[in-house]
Amino acid sequence: MASLPVRILKEYAQEEKGEHARMSSFVGAIAIGDLVKSTLGPKGMDKILLSGSGEHQNVQITNDGATILKSIGVDNPAGKILVDMAMAQDSEVGDGTTSVTVFASELLKEAERLVGMRIHPQIIYNGYRKALSIAQQALKDVSKESGENLREDLLKIARTTLSSKIISQHKEHFAKLVVDAVLRLKGSGNLEAIQIIKKLGGAMEDSYLDEGFLLEKKPGMYQPQRIENAKILIANTPMDTDKVKVFGTRVKVDSVAKVAELEAAEKEKMKDKVNKIVAHNINVFINRQLIYNYPEQLFADHAIMAIEHADFEGIERLALVLGGEIVSTFDSPETVKYGHCDLIEQVTIGEDTLLRFSGVQLGEACSVVLRGSTQQILDEAERSIHDALCVLTVHVREARTIPGAGAAETLMASAVLSESLKVEGKISFAVEAFARALIQLPTIICDNAGLDSAEIVSRIRAEHAKGNHSVGIDIDNGEMCNVIEKGILESYNVKLCMISSATEAAEQILRVDEIIKCAPRPRAPDRRPC
């Protein structure tokens, strides 16, 4: 009889079963939740993320859940699920990444307690599912179509979103800024059209929305620096050396003189090209690729402003703003759509010079210029603006608002709680637990603000039980208030996405009863010089 234990998995592979697996998932997920918990809400704190070492050290200060989770490098499998979920939330609706993580970890915390009461995970997640559908319904019932006063609602939502970010002291200013930017998109939701330019220096309230378009480029030498009534050709064509593209060609000559001739021919070709471009009767030429000195000089001769190396996004955005077509051949000037704008001029922001296109035809795109005293502030401001923009575009698509400041969560919790009393069987414990997890969100927001969370939340809950569904936290005065009157609104879609993804992730973790970790791939030691 073989007395040795039989090893089935590879060496260094790990296996955790049953309770152990569950414990390790719970612990991991709860740890992730606790990590971002303190950043929740308007009075949440920021985190410093350090990466790299020595000269490459990179400092980030943020309270954006997605950014924090992206940077921490999680090893725990359950933790990874939460991170993945937060990323998905980020890409889907842009905001609520912290809330989704905290809510999922609260759900698991409750589940841990239920498992301790000897309730099977299957029953727990069935309860969660039931509770989720009740919560979704409750949320839907309380949501309101924005309808006429879309702009007002957008402003309110922007204010709510921004109030938890670093730029909260200027939230009025920024709320206006992002709402203007989003409304210019006219519902297309194409965030690419909004360009965020960060410039170090100045104060944060110096940030502004530029109606025109800013391009971080300079016109070539000796070319006009300011053009009125610009007729613009946007191109994507090589203006360095125009190669012969027929496959396998190469130049083979037998004398220096021939080389010179060929060079001349090449020059000729370039000149032809420039002439053709000039024949379009334009006064501005913008190319995605490089423009060499020779063509640049030719353009200067024709008093054309030539801008080189506008990157791909820049070109697309430009085409969008100016209403032009991106062109690569120049043989038929009559059919090409040109871009137009009233004025191109150089503006100086801080110590950098940018080109500004104003009076553009299609006002879809715009630029947001952010100013701030440190790089970190700028980065964080950009993230905040991005979050707000995402939320607003999502909202424009389906314009339904819900009361914010913990009112929505409390409302769902009370709906779930009152339904849980009608549920028969063990599953009711889980439904109740879901409500408890929901109520944790306003509780944490209060805690982070240093308020007496138990007192405030219970009072809010009592109001909700009385059918007063617009009561939430007044974070500044430390009491409850009517959030609708205070203008604290949130987007229905974001919240809906938040509770559904968190429940889905919690269910996924709950269903696991065994974790098998393969042996990590052996890596050759890195001997490259650093």
């Binding site: 009889m1 073989a2 039989v6 998995l9 590879k10 592979a13 090893d75 359950a78 699920i81 993945d84 998905a88 890409s91 889907e92 609706v93 099977h120 299957q122 599912r129 939701g189 690419e192 994507n236 064509t237 090589p238 012969v244 593209k245 027929v246 496959f247 396998g248 060609t249 190469r250 083979k252 000559v253 021939k258 060929l262 001349a264 021919a265 090449e266 697309e316 085409a319 077509e325 991106i326 062109v327 690569s328 051949t329 059919t335 090409v336 996405c497 559904s500 889905e504 269910e507 996924q508 269903r511 696991v512 009863d513 065994e514 974790i515 098998i516 393969c518 042996a519 990590p520 791939r521």
Partner: protein
């Protein structure tokens, strides 16, 4: 350990039969068998808890830290990073079931584990492994006969019944949140592409793609093709109606002769000529496409910037870098021909589609191209959404399993009832037959019946029922009412009539499970000697 291998000839000189004895570890006889059985059972125990609608999931971390959460037996086994040779056989076993049938991958492993467990007791009784294996073989035949006998015809044209079968398969996965919806999607998908005459389904025609984001409820079946590409020029139209597609496998570039060649430019004239030639080729290419009447060009290769602009300029939207399988699917869906050369493009070879549009998702501006309303509805795409990568992956696997079930039904429309009903019926039949057997095989026969009961036992256990009690009640009921459609009430629906609950499995799948598991066990029982290199650095498992 190697003492037995050193022999002496008549003169007393030792000679070596096997080389390098000292560098090998060896297990022989019962010892080897026992070690193998322990290993195989350990694997079976791992997946045992995933069986049935109330089974749990496993979380698997790959060597690179990638995470998979699944309930699918074959996937668990594949990703488990198994090192033991016998355990590897078990992995192969579930893979075989997956390749052949696509569903029931967990059941087959659990059954093999149970058979080996029984074999182990028989070995302790001193029964020779060959006898055991012969007995198992006979018992398996009997079980298969029973399955044939209790099988029923399935109303293959009854969509409702099919959906319910798909629901059985999907019920054990995390996707059971939107069970009904996914079941309908898989049934419809299979029926779109099924060849009812040949009784076959070509899975190549069903493309399952996923995108993280949204919810599982947003999963849809598109009667057409979705490609993860966008129009080549940002300003091309995002939506086309009644499109004519030119499906090209040649690049919009100057032609490249396949033979190796060199083209030397030696003079200014040549340089100019080449320039002209280049320009001309581009223009003829566009002209040819345009003249054929195409309104959308799908190209397997890339375009040159100039070609791209020319296309846009001539109002000819185009998509580049479309992969091989997608090109084929597109060709099938749109009834188009894949054209390898511009000169061969004719109006007849164009495909057509009612609607081509770009879909965009979320805030990250991810886009996909969706070709719908195609003349040939035999190419479909299932588009899966989910809140994270793990869910999307698991949903894809689950849908595949469900579609396999439907396909098997189309191939062979006989079914048996699930929920352990078929296994219990077989166990009863085999046990009744056992006493009639003359010879030692009788023991193996009886053991086989016990092993079959492992499936209903595991089901009951995973569902939180008292396993032994439930099984005995079930057996009594089956014998008493002569009703092989009674099974374990896993979802606590209040009845154990599987016909009412609509829990069905295909006969082929069940038969395959039994015969594959039996074969595998017979193979393991035949091994009586095991040698592995005794290496200090890389320790081999015994």
């Amino acid at each position: 350990m190697a003492s037995g291998q050193l022999l002496f000839d008549e003169t007393g000189q030792p000679f070596i039969v096997l080389r390098e004895q000292d560098r090998q570890k060896r297990l022989t006889g019962t010892e080897a068998l026992k070690s193998h059985i322990i290993a195989a059972r350990a694997v079976a125990n791992t997946v045992r808890s995933s069986l049935g609608p109330r089974g749990m999931d496993k979380m698997l971390v790959s060597p690179d830290g990638e995470l998979t959460i699944t309930n699918d037996g074959a996937t668990i086994m594949e990703k488990m990073d198994v090192d033991h040779h016998i355990a590897k056989l078990m992995v192969e076993l579930s893979k075989a079931q997956d390749d052949e049938i696509g569903d029931g991958t967990t059941g087959v492993v659990v059954l093999a584990g149970a058979l080996l467990e029984q074999a182990s007791t028989l070995l302790d009784k001193g029964i020779h492994p060959t006898k055991i294996s012969d007995g198992f073989d006979l018992a398996c035949k009997k079980a298969l006969e029973t399955l044939d006998k209790i099988s029923e015809k399935f109303p293959i044209n009854d969509r409702e019944a099919l959906v319910r079968t798909a629901m059985t398969s999907l019920g054990s996965k995390i996707v059971n949140k939107c069970l009904r919806q996914l079941a309908e999607i898989s049934v419809d998908a299979v029926f779109c592409v099924a060849d009812r005459e040949a009784k076959d389904v070509n899975f190549e025609l069903i493309k399952v793609t996923g995108k993280i984001g949204g919810h599982l409820e947003d999963t849809v079946l598109v009667k057409g093709v979705i490609i993860d590409k966008t129009m080549s020029h940002p300003q091309m139209p995002k939506e086309l109606k009644n499109a004519k597609l030119a499906i090209l496998t040649c690049p919009f570039e100057p032609p490249k002769p396949k033979t190796k060649h060199k083209l030397d430019i030696t003079s200014v004239e040549e340089f100019k000529q080449l320039r002209e030639y280049e320009k001309e080729t581009f223009e003829t290419m566009i002209k040819q496409v345009k003249e054929s009447g195409a309104t959308l060009a799908i190209c397997q290769w890339g375009f040159d910037d100039e070609a791209n602009h020319l296309l846009h300029h001539h109002n000819l939207p185009a998509v580049r870098w479309v992969g091989g399988p997608e090109i084929e699917l597109l060709a099938i869906a749109t009834n188009g021909r894949i054209v390898p050369r511009f000169s061969e493009l004719t109006p007849e070879k164009l495909g057509s589609a009612g609607l081509v549009r770009e879909l965009s998702f979320g805030t990250a501006r991810e886009k996909m191209l969706c070709v719908e309303q195609c003349p040939n509805s035999r190419a479909v795409t299932i588009f899966v959404r989910g809140s994270n990568k793990m869910i999307v992956d698991e949903a894809k696997r689950s849908l595949h399993d469900a579609m396999c079930v439907i396909r098997n039904l189309i191939k062979d429309d006989r079914i048996v009832y699930g929920g352990g009903a078929a296994e219990t019926a077989c166990a009863i039949a085999v046990a009744a037959e056992a006493d009639k057997i003359v010879g030692i095989e009788q023991y193996a026969f009886r053991a086989y019946a016990d092993a079959l009961e492992a499936i209903p036992l595991a089901l009951a256990e995973n569902s939180g029922l008292a396993p032994i009690n439930t099984l005995t009640e079930l057996k009594a009921a089956q014998i008493g009412q002569n009703a092989p459609h009674l099974g374990i009430d896993c979802v606590l629906a209040g009845t154990n009539d599987m016909r009412q609950q609509g829990v069905m499995e295909t006969l082929t799948s069940k038969k395959e499970q039994l015969s594959l598991a039996t074969q595998m066990v017979r193979m393991i029982l035949k091994i009586d000697d095991l040698r592995v290199p005794d290496d200090e650095e890389r320790s081999y498992p015994m």
